[in-house]
């Protein structure tokens, strides 16, 4: 290994990325009756993901928050003649997403412990491969490597939705795959153009490369095609409700928790630093799409009768807020967007787990089938309450900080933008509380609901870390914002400088 930059000799990012595949190999070699295989596969996957999570804590403790550039860098020659190399590294923007991925994977595996009974071996393999792809994507410091992981995510997710999904799983999985593929393959052309123009695909170099304004225009559109589908932004969000409804619980959790962050991460990582002029030029469009997403999908969420669909639409609304935050180009907005992404990653994941808890017992997601659960499931009611409040953005929970910062950032840009953006919080309170009331409160009218048992120890173990994180992020957010503060400030300054240089150039011309 050619150590480069400020490399710590230990290749922690590669280890985190590729270690899940060791678990995969182990699971593949397990022999025996179906039951033995299933049990071993579960434990092997759990241990692998737990070890990876513990290893990833090294990033939490070892990351230097004052340094805005890439850290834990690794470099291996791959295609030396073409300027494409295996480069890994995390900066303030990506480090927490790596941690989010490694933290959610063991939770997902625990959540599927009992609900997945068929083809357990393949299921666990798919989740571990997914972890490789997610971690690799957030740690890639080379555009081609990033793209490989970015698109590779589709493979395990397609299988997870299609094999273990609900009744319309085939439709949902195809829609998910083809929608995202169409977007990302247009981005591939942009990657090729960037590669040709800059002669390298090193992200750190590309961030300082100045592309001509006209080229930026087209590159931005190509990136938008890919990232908008992933975010997802209105009007290309329609795959998300289908995918969420049909996916198994853990699939929804990872989809909402990590995969939805890929698009917004792409905007922050590529569009903003590499295409400053085009980003500024397109900002009004992005604001408009963000505001529409916030208001329209919140209203749609109000009308849903399926719990998962309701939360899926609320995700679209929350991601609209993130998009608004990113394109404010000020530190508050971007930090708010990052924080909102993290908190949404925890809270929406937890909400899907909450749905999973009752779904495992009743095998229906119809809101109308439930009611009065507080009487039989008090612990569940409390947990659900906490996450409902967090998704609304109650101060003291994770959801508040992100939305607040984004609105502060948006206010600096435009009063109306902030006003319309804040509609999301009001409508969010509407549909979330409405959902909560219909499920938890009221009197129990059905016999089968009386039989429901409260959270099992396994479920408590799943929710406990999420509850702690939600409160921690809400009460003491600076332990998270500290990670990306320096990087975001550097990025905002660089963006302003690039715009200024451009203006200056056009004035003197």
């Amino acid at each position: 290994m050619n150590a480069a930059g400020n490399a710590a000799g230990f290749p922690i990012l590669s280890l985190l990325t590729w270690l899940p595949l060791v678990g995969v190999v182990f699971i593949m070699t397990v022999r025996g009756s179906e039951e033995v295989v299933a049990r071993n596969a579960r434990f092997a996957a759990l241990w692998t993901s737990l070890i990876i999570f513990l290893l990833s804590l090294k990033l939490w403790f070892g990351f230097d928050p004052a340094e805005p550039g890439f850290q834990f860098q690794e470099h291996l020659t791959w295609l030396p003649d073409f300027g494409v190399d295996y480069r890994m590294g995390v900066d303030g923007i990506s480090v927490l997403f790596v941690l989010l991925s490694t933290a959610l994977t063991p939770i997902c595996i625990l959540a599927s412990w009992e609900s997945v009974q068929t083809r357990v071996r393949e299921y666990m393999i798919a989740f571990l491969v997914l972890e490789t792809m997610m971690v690799g994507m957030f740690s890639a410091q080379d555009f081609i490597i990033f793209y490989m992981f970015f698109e590779g995510v589709l493979i395990p997710m397609f299988l997870i939705i299609g094999v273990w999904g609900g009744t319309r799983r085939v439709y949902a999985s195809f829609k998910f795959f083809l929608y995202t593929l169409l977007g990302s393959i247009l981005m591939l052309l942009a990657v090729l153009a960037v590669w040709y123009a800059a002669g390298t695909t090193d992200i750190a170099v590309l961030m300082t490369a100045q592309f001509p304004a006209r080229m930026q225009f087209w590159l931005f559109l190509a990136f938008l095609a890919s990232f908008a589908v992933k975010v997802p932004m209105w009007p290309v969000h329609t795959w998300l409700p289908d995918a969420h409804v049909e996916a198994p619980t853990a699939g929804s959790v990872i989809l909402a928790g990590v995969l939805l962050k890929m698009g917004a991460y792409g905007f922050l990582r590529f569009s903003l630093p590499m295409l400053p002029q085009a980003s500024a030029q397109f900002a009004p469009l992005m604001f408009a799409l963000g505001v529409i997403a916030v208001i329209y999908t919140s209203l749609v969420a109000l009308a849903q009768t399926d719990m998962k669909k309701l939360i899926a639409y609320s995700s679209v609304a929350h991601m609209g807020v993130v998009v608004i935050g990113i394109f404010t180009f000020n530190a508050q907005g971007i930090e708010g967007a990052l924080f909102q992404m993290l908190s949404h990653g925890i809270v929406s994941a937890a909400l899907f787990l909450c749905v999973g808890v009752v779904y495992d017992r009743m095998h229906t997601r119809e809101i109308a089938r439930y009611g009065g659960l507080a009487q039989r499931m008090p612990a569940y009611a409390v947990v659900f309450m906490l996450f409902t409040m967090a998704t609304i953005g109650l101060p003291g929970t994770a959801g508040f900080v992100g939305e607040f910062l984004v609105l502060v950032g948006a206010f600096q840009v435009n009063f109306w933008l902030a006003l319309l953006g804040s509609m999301g919080m009001i409508l969010g309170a509407g549909y979330s509380l409405y959902l909560y009331r219909r499920i938890i409160f009221g009197s129990i009218t059905r016999d089968d609901l009386r039989q429901m048992l409260d959270l099992s120890p396994r479920e408590i173990a799943i929710f406990a870390p999420l509850v702690l994180l939600t409160l921690w992020m809400g009460i003491y957010p600076s332990s998270f914002t500290g990670f990306f503060d320096a990087t975001v400030h550097a990025m905002v300054e660089q963006h302003a400088a690039a715009l200024h240089a451009h203006d200056f150039a056009s004035v003197t011309r």
Binding site: T77, W78, L79, P80, D81, F82, R119, E122, I144, Y147, M148, F149, E151, G152, L154, I155, F158, L159, G162, V163, R169, V170, S173, F174, F177, L178, L181, L182, I185, L186, L188, L189, L192, A193, W195, Y196
Partner: protein
Amino acid sequence: MIAAMNWSLALPEIVLACCAMGILIFGVLQKANATFACTMLAVGALVLTGALVLSGASGSGYRGLFVVDPFADFMKLLVLVGAGLSVVLALDYNVHEGISKFEFPVLVLLSTVGMMIMCSTANLMTLYLGLELQSLALYVLCAFNRDDMRSSESGLKFFILGALASGLLLYGISLAYGFAGTMDFGELARALTFPGTASPGLIVGVVFIIAGLSFKLSAVPFHMWTPDVYEGAPTPVTAFMSTAPKVAAIALLLRALEVPFHGIFQQWSGLIVLVSIASMLLGSLAAIGQRNIKRLMAYSSIGHIGYALVGLAPGSQEGIRGVMIYMVTYVFMSAGVFAVLIAMRRRGRALEQISDLSGLSTTDPGLALIMTIFMFSMAGIPPFSGFFGKLYVFRAAVDSGYWTLAVIGVLTSVIGAFYYLRIIKVMYFDAAEPAFDPRTTSLTFVGAVGALVTTFFFVIPAPIVGAAQSAAHLLFG
């Protein structure tokens, strides 16, 4: 002009031809059925030839009729790999179908000799001879199951249409000769160094040559024979046809267009763009409605040729490199897929419907996994090798500003992804059919080789990419 014979440059071809004759005589003299022995000998001959190709020198021989350069070596090795894998695939299939004859590997070897000559051609006459030697053996192979109506039909159809294409090609060659006064690639290139001096007659000749070669490549609009012949021919022959001859024909087209006719690049480039777009569109759209998996693979191969031609259209070094990498990935994917198709057999009967794959992931997880890898790879999803093939050809198109071609290419690859996904869906999402007969070692071997190369191509792509790069560079130099 180097007027030397340098016959030793063709040593690999000579050895392979002699081996073919030797195996034929050996097979005739054996009393018992010697198919297995002959097949193994054929594989040995292919390996020996490969070693000779690797160790051989470069240069021009036979008074300029024959050329050996890194490009030719690269393509020849690929042809040999394709032929070797197909011969192994035929082993059990032919036994099951009752056509286990020792002539099969001999014919494959003879056809391979023709393909190797195609890779090394430096004269329009050599081009034609190599092509015909290759095709004649293939016609026979298509009709190898002579008691089967479909096989005979496919052999006949292939022969008649192939003869027509050869006629077109020959007509084009004669026009080129008539207007340029030479058939030597080097002299043709010199005659065309001044743009504008090319006479219309010569350009018409080149169009005919492209048409003739497009037929061999099964590129649209000369693709009509492909689905029927693919469906009718014995499956190992289909496997062979979709790998080695495609490589040889692409090699021939690359060399013919880049070396002698590079001067009239402006004139032929548009034609290649057109053929490429049409192939990609037809390959992806027509495959959607197919139920027979061999027909599906026929349309898929038409599409793949379209993608390979994307790299040829810009006429640049990057493009040649892209095509070469594309063919490497394609040969391994394709051979692997056919290994899976040949394994589709229930109670001794060969199956060809896509629906027969239902629930394969539960009855034979290993086979389903292999097939899934190939399908994702053919759809161009990273990290599988098919992605890299597409990456390099599209890179070439983007570099040279062929944006229309690149955009249409990526859009058709999304459409194409649909039918590849459908096969995965059938295998993983649908309810299980009864299990297939146990697959044999030879099929597992070919499938595993293909899957391993396809999956791990991304780990160290540098050697293959580097070899393609230097070969493309020398072809231009």
